[in-house]
């Protein structure tokens, strides 16, 4: 392996539990030192299995995982030196917080004085300096979460794995913890592999996101790229909100696809994942990229639409239209000064640019 080999490399990983179904099909991923990589996907998509294989709790059926350039398939978990935060924290209930944190240090035969010093530093890092003597059960969910993070970091592992660590927290706390973990990652230069099914969480925290579906990585890219240019319909649908129009490609020219919607309208879209004329396609369009009553010439596609429903969201008004034969077309109308005043039942013109409308696989 070369000098700048990635910290973690998954190479052609396959995993089957029953010898019949592959839950992970040919998984490849490199994680560079200092990176925050998230494996995102619905439950049962194989993301947690990949994490467990990396941690050493599940053997890979095929392929090899490398850590710092060395194959680790045969290395037991306790020799891998990987920190891990579990879904339900897995704080040992019969030990105090300090004892929990001291556990990995004790295992490493560290002296008492240094152990206490390190535990104290780790607790201060997560703002829980006062709580060393408490039992995990006496802490709130967010505090337990912080202890779990501190415990996974206290022995300075090369790599930290997090398995849906925020799943048990309520929304506000979850957002706060997202920032805290992100800041820890930046300050300490950690390498993190993170598993979640929550796309907002993934977008907020990650350098790169691998989107899983059916044991296959659908796309692995930085958050912005994932949102702006999803490579297929699944990713477009899974990341963020997304209007879909089904249709057939009638012409392809310089990256622009002419698509005839099933209801007959002709739409020009950006060619992403269609290859020839006559292909079925899903047009994907973000709700915030649609303009109501667009100025003449500012958009490439323009249709009349009927207002079906208005939901007031404060900063924007979520509006449901019927357009191109779909009655679930959502547009986020910004609540800005002088925005269009819509009434239920009105028929208005809406439009969008060609490059905001992606022609993906059907």
């Amino acid at each position: 392996m070369s000098a700048e080999s990635p910290l973690v490399r998954f190479e052609n990983i396959q995993k089957s539990y029953d010898g019949e179904i592959l839950v992970v099909k040919n998984f490849n991923l490199d994680v560079a030192k200092g990176e925050f990589v998230t494996m995102l996907g619905p439950s049962g998509s194989g993301k947690t299995t990949c994490l467990m294989m990396l941690a050493g709790f599940e053997p890979a059926t095929h392929g090899e995982i490398y850590l710092k350039g060395k194959p680790i398939n045969k290395v037991p978990p306790y020799k891998r030196g990987i920190g891990m935060v579990f879904q339900n924290y897995a704080l040992f209930p019969h030990m105090t917080v300090a004892e929990n944190l001291a556990f990995p240090l004790e295992v490493r035969g560290m002296g008492k004085a240094e152990r206490e010093e390190r535990v104290k530093r780790a607790l201060d890092m997560v703002q829980l300096g006062e709580f060393g003597g408490r039992r995990p059960m006496q802490l709130s969910g967010g505090q337990q979460q912080r202890v779990a993070v501190a415990r996974s970091l206290v022995f300075d592992p090369d790599l930290v794995l997090m398995d849906e660590p925020l799943g048990a927290l309520d929304k506000n706390l979850r957002e706060q913890m997202q920032y805290e973990i992100k800041h820890l990652h930046e300050q300490l230069g950690l390498t993190v592999v993170y598993v979640t099914h929550d796309q907002t969480e993934a977008l907020t925290m990650s350098n790169r996101i691998a989107v899983f579906e059916n044991g296959i990585v659908q796309q692995c890219a930085p958050p912005a790229e994932l949102y702006e240019s999803p490579s297929n319909a699944f990713v477009a649908n899974f990341i963020g909100e997304n209007n879909r129009i089904m249709g057939t490609v009638t012409a392809l020219e310089k990256g622009v696809a002419k698509v005839t919607a099933d209801s007959g309208e002709s739409i020009s879209a950006k060619q992403v994942n269609v290859h020839s004329v006559g292909d079925r396609t899903t047009l994907s369009l973000r709700p915030e990229r649609v303009t109501v009553s667009p100025a003449e010439g500012s958009v490439d596609n323009q249709f009349s639409a009927r207002v079906e429903e208005l939901i007031y969201h404060g900063d924007h008004i979520r509006t449901r239209f019927t357009v191109c034969g779909h009655d679930d077309f959502i547009v986020k109308v910004p609540n800005s000064a002088g925005h269009a005043a819509l009434q239920q039942g009105n028929t208005v013109t809406i439009g969008w640019k060609m490059e905001d409308c992606l022609a993906l696989d059907a």
Partner: protein
């Protein structure tokens, strides 16, 4: 509000009163619902235990059979022989008693009572009662001694004086393998009569051994139950519970069929040539039989609490420990095992207390040396009819169990117990 100390509700009544009033109905209903059980426990549990405690120190056979004599002998100073009047009263009481047929008030009852404390004295009473009516006039002392010269021994009178008291520690003295010396002090009984303490020790030791074997057998099974997939663990659970669904007698009898000298195991060993036909192993009607059968019967009581606790320990604990660099054995010792302690404690307490008072199994398969204290108690209640001694033994057993319970609470804490 000015009076900050007492919270007042809107209509001026203190909040506490108001609350008590509104919850009164609930509390009354709760009481009513528990009433049948409370009554049941009172009748079937509290009263019998009270009776047992009372019986263990109370025996009125002497004062019931020879009441006047009982009063008189208690006045005696215990020096030499009782005075002439006491002899007279005794003879008259005996003549009177001979005519009584009422159960519990016959000379036989008196003889049995004294015989407890002075073995071999039974016939003295029965024969004297038969002949007492021949003594028509005094001096009664000489007449009685002439009838049987044992009456000239002050020892019999001292024993009678002791037995004349209705409330007596004599049965505890006997239950603790002690006896009254000639001067009335308490000393150890002759070795031949030392059975109860040894049996108590044996019962404790066997119960501890059975509990220990149960732990060894139950722990791995409970662990397996807690980690296996649902379908397999259900099947295993049924196998664990199967003994619960069969009658205790059937199970014990099955052990007899398996373990006896002409039983399956011995037959098999002989057939396979491991032992000769004359060298068949005695595995039942002794301690071995008691241990095997009781371990089998008590095993579920160890498995279930262990299982219910292990079931609640998520596998992520062990994984977390491993991920932090702990070797599997160390992780198990430091992380998994401590968390199973509440279940282990519950199982241990349950099995030990059940074992210490177990009766049927040792009675059926225990033979001579496999008998436990409960079998001795049953013997005194059913065969020898020395209820007071049985009650004293039972009370000691109860105290031992309570003592263990207390000790256990001190060491581990009852609140830590988890049965499920």
């Amino acid at each position: 509000m000015s009076t900050a100390d007492i919270s007042i509700s809107q209509d001026g009544i203190p909040l506490k009163q108001k609350l008590a009033k509104t919850t009164a109905l609930q509390r009354r209903r709760a009481l009513l619902l528990t009433m049948p059980l409370v009554l049941f426990l009172l009748v079937s549990f509290v009263v019998p235990i009270g009776q047992m405690l009372f019986n263990s120190v109370h025996n009125d056979k002497v004062s019931a059979v020879v009441p006047n004599f009982a009063d008189a002998i208690l006045q005696w100073d215990g020096v030499g022989l009782p005075p002439e009047e006491t002899f007279e009263i005794f003879v008259k009481d005996m003549i009177q008693a001979k005519k009584v047929r009422e159960v519990g008030r016959t000379v036989g009852n008196l003889a049995t009572r004294v015989n407890y404390e002075m073995p071999g004295s039974r016939s003295l009473f029965t024969s004297t009662a038969r002949k007492a009516k021949k003594i028509k006039e005094g001096p009664y002392k000489e007449a009685l001694i002439k009838l049987n010269k044992k009456w000239g021994n002050p020892q019999i009178w001292l024993t009678l004086q002791r037995a004349a008291r209705d409330i007596t520690p004599a049965f505890y003295v006997a239950a603790l393998d002690l006896k009254y010396a000639e001067d009335g002090s308490i000393e150890r009984a002759d070795e031949l009569y030392q059975i109860y303490l040894n049996n108590f020790m044996k019962t404790l030791w066997l119960s501890a051994l059975i509990t220990f074997i149960c732990i060894l057998l139950a722990y791995p099974v409970a662990y397996l139950l807690s980690v296996l997939p649902l379908r397999q663990s259900n099947l295993l659970m049924i196998m664990v519970l199967l003994p619960f669904w069969t009658s205790l007698l059937v199970r014990t009898t099955a052990w007899i069929a398996i373990l006896q000298t002409e039983g399956i195991i011995n037959d098999m060993l002989v057939f396979l040539g491991f032992i000769s036909d004359d060298g068949r192993i005695q595995m039942i009607y002794n301690q071995t039989g008691t241990i095997i059968a009781m371990v089998h019967i008590l095993l579920p009581f160890m498995i279930l609490p262990l299982y219910s606790v292990m079931k609640t320990i998520p596998p992520s604990y062990m994984r977390a420990a491993l991920s932090m660099g702990a070797k599997p054995l160390y992780a198990y010792r430091k992380v998994y095992f401590p968390q199973t302690l509440p279940g282990l404690a519950a199982g241990t307490l349950l099995v030990f207390i059940l074992a210490i008072g177990y009766y049927i199994t040792p009675a059926l398969v225990g033979g001579e040396d496999g008998l436990l204290i409960s079998n001795l108690i049953a013997y005194h209640i059913q065969k020898s009819l020395n209820w007071s001694l049985g009650a004293a033994l039972g009370t000691i057993l109860l105290v031992v169990v309570l003592l263990l319970y207390w000790l256990y609470n001190k060491l581990i804490g009852i609140d830590k117990l988890r049965f499920g």
